[in-house]
């Protein structure tokens, strides 16, 4: 078995008295798409945000391609640019154009020249079908277009891992498809992905593994076909039936 891209061990996180992650173990192999589901408040977002230490875990280990992110000496900014993150609320920079959103980190983190950054940025926008929107500000784009710019912003840094936190939940139903299509094409290009989402059809056709979380712990995991039809744990079955309807 190939070495995992991401290897999370015994990860714990509390907010005050509330223990949100109770020792999570999760390993993601190269090119794998892991689909993370669970009831509201089960700690899915917190888990994703701990993976690049946007949220500071209390204890545990996070290895990205063998490099321990919890080490004091770890260059966190260097690690973060190799973990693309896509948010429910897009979080585009409203004062910059679509191209400016994509090129900022290329220039300031990777140190590319403006010309080179714009070349890469345009290619990334083209990849998400928005080559013609490069000069638009976020306010001039639909939610689906904004989310695709956000994906381009993350992908342009050539991450080894992409984290998606409910990327389509804030979108009108008719705009969801365009974002899922981009995610599908990323997967076909061999991107390693962890996706938190309620899009069960997408999970069925695109996921390699479905992970069910509840109360800050992973209850059960397996291939989507098995998870959807013959989950072992009654809680898993109840949850997947409920949202799979």
């Amino acid at each position: 078995m190939p070495a995992p891209i991401l290897d999370v061990r015994a990860l714990r996180k509390s907010f005050g008295p509330l223990e949100v992650l109770k020792g999570i173990d999760l390993s993601v192999r190269p090119q794998e798409l892991v689909f993370l589901v669970g009831p509201s408040g089960s700690g899915k977002s917190t888990l994703l945000r701990c993976c690049n230490r946007l949220e500071e875990p209390d204890s545990g280990s996070i290895r990205l391609e063998g490099v321990e992110l919890m080490d004091r000496a770890c260059d966190l900014n260097a690690a973060r640019r190799r973990i693309g993150m896509v948010f429910q609320g897009f979080n585009l920079y409203p004062h910059m154009t679509a191209l400016g959103n994509v090129t900022l980190a290329l220039r300031k983190v990777l140190g590319k020249s403006r010309r080179e950054a714009e070349e890469i940025g345009r290619a990334a926008l083209d990849r998400v079908g928005l080559a013609d929107k490069a000069a638009c500000h976020p306010g001039e784009l639909s939610g689906g277009q904004q989310q695709r710019v956000a994906i381009a912003r993350a992908v342009s840094l050539e991450p080894t891992l992409m984290l998606f936190d409910e990327p389509t939940s804030a979108l009108d139903p008719e705009l969801v498809g365009s974002v899922l299509a981009v995610m599908r094409s990323l997967r076909e290009a061999g991107m390693t992905m962890v996706v938190v989402s309620h899009e069960m059809r997408f999970a069925r056709e695109a996921a390699d593994r479905v992970v069910f979380m509840e109360g800050g712990a992973i209850v059960e995991e397996g291939p989507p076909a098995a998870m959807f039809t013959e989950a072992q744990h009654p809680r898993t079955r109840a949850f997947l039936q409920e949202i799979g309807r």
């Binding site: 900014n77 973060r80 640019r81 693309g84 979080n91 585009l92 920079y93 409203p94 004062h95 980190a105």
Partner: protein, 227 residues
């Protein structure tokens, strides 16, 4: 003499106007000098303090908050009088011009800091998340992502406050800075005629209406369509 004649002789006396036009014009120059100096140092200092505060270094933030609250609470006139008549007692003698510039700069800085800080706080946390997740550092995120948005939000209240503070240059008249009101008061004292004051008021309108128009332009220039 009719009432109207008396009114005109008091407020619109051509002889007095001609005699003191030069003095008022000199006052206009001084007012513009102080105002520009106060705008530059006050806004720069306010912005700088807001940026420092964003680093959230506790003792430093406490000092900033104290400074901001004191200078927003005190009437600028009191501070000007204290500085001009009090500081020489502790061995610091500043010119009237320097006192006016310094005090108004500090007052503007205090308000500007508070306005820009509120702007920084109102930038949604997701902006920090997104920027940091691409590997941008704290300072890079602050300067490239958060501050540009904070300053845009701050511009309308900032222009209002900047105009209000620069109008306070008139307080310089009490310590003898030769700005518009000081020149006008001197002329009124000599002639016993109110025309110079009316000329002073007119001078303010001539100086500040373009500033207001410019401020409106700046506000529109920095507005952007929100997502």
């Amino acid at each position: 003499m009719t009432d109207l004649d008396r009114f005109l002789a008091t407020f619109l006396n051509p002889a007095v106007a001609g005699q003191y036009a030069g003095a008022i014009a000199a006052g206009v120059l001084v007012t513009i000098e102080v105002a520009v100096a106060v705008l530059v140092t006050g806004l720069a200092l306010g912005l700088g303090l807001a940026v420092l505060r964003a680093y959230r270094i506790r003792p430093l933030n406490a000092l900033i908050v104290i400074f901001v609250d004191v200078f927003r609470a005190l009437p600028p006139l009191v501070v000007i009088l204290l500085a001009y008549f009090g500081l020489p007692n502790v061995g610091v003698t500043l010119s009237a011009f320097a006192v006016l510039w310094l005090v108004l700069s500090l007052v503007l800085a205090a308000f500007a800091e508070e306005i820009v800080w509120a702007g920084i706080l109102s930038v949604r946390k997701g902006q920090w998340d997104a920027a940091r997740s691409t590997g941008l550092g704290f300072a890079q995120t602050l300067f490239y992502v958060v501050l540009p948005q904070a300053v845009r939000l701050a511009i309308p209240p900032l222009t209002n406050r900047a105009i209000a503070t620069t109008k306070n240059t008139a307080l310089g008249s009490v310590i003898g800075v030769g700005e518009i009101i000081n020149q006008a008061q001197t002329a009124v004292a000599v002639t016993g005629n109110a025309t110079p004051l009316l000329m002073g008021a007119l001078a303010y309108i001539i100086v500040f209406v373009p500033v207001l128009i410019l401020a409106g332009r700046i506000e529109r220039r920095f507005a952007w369509r929100r997502a």
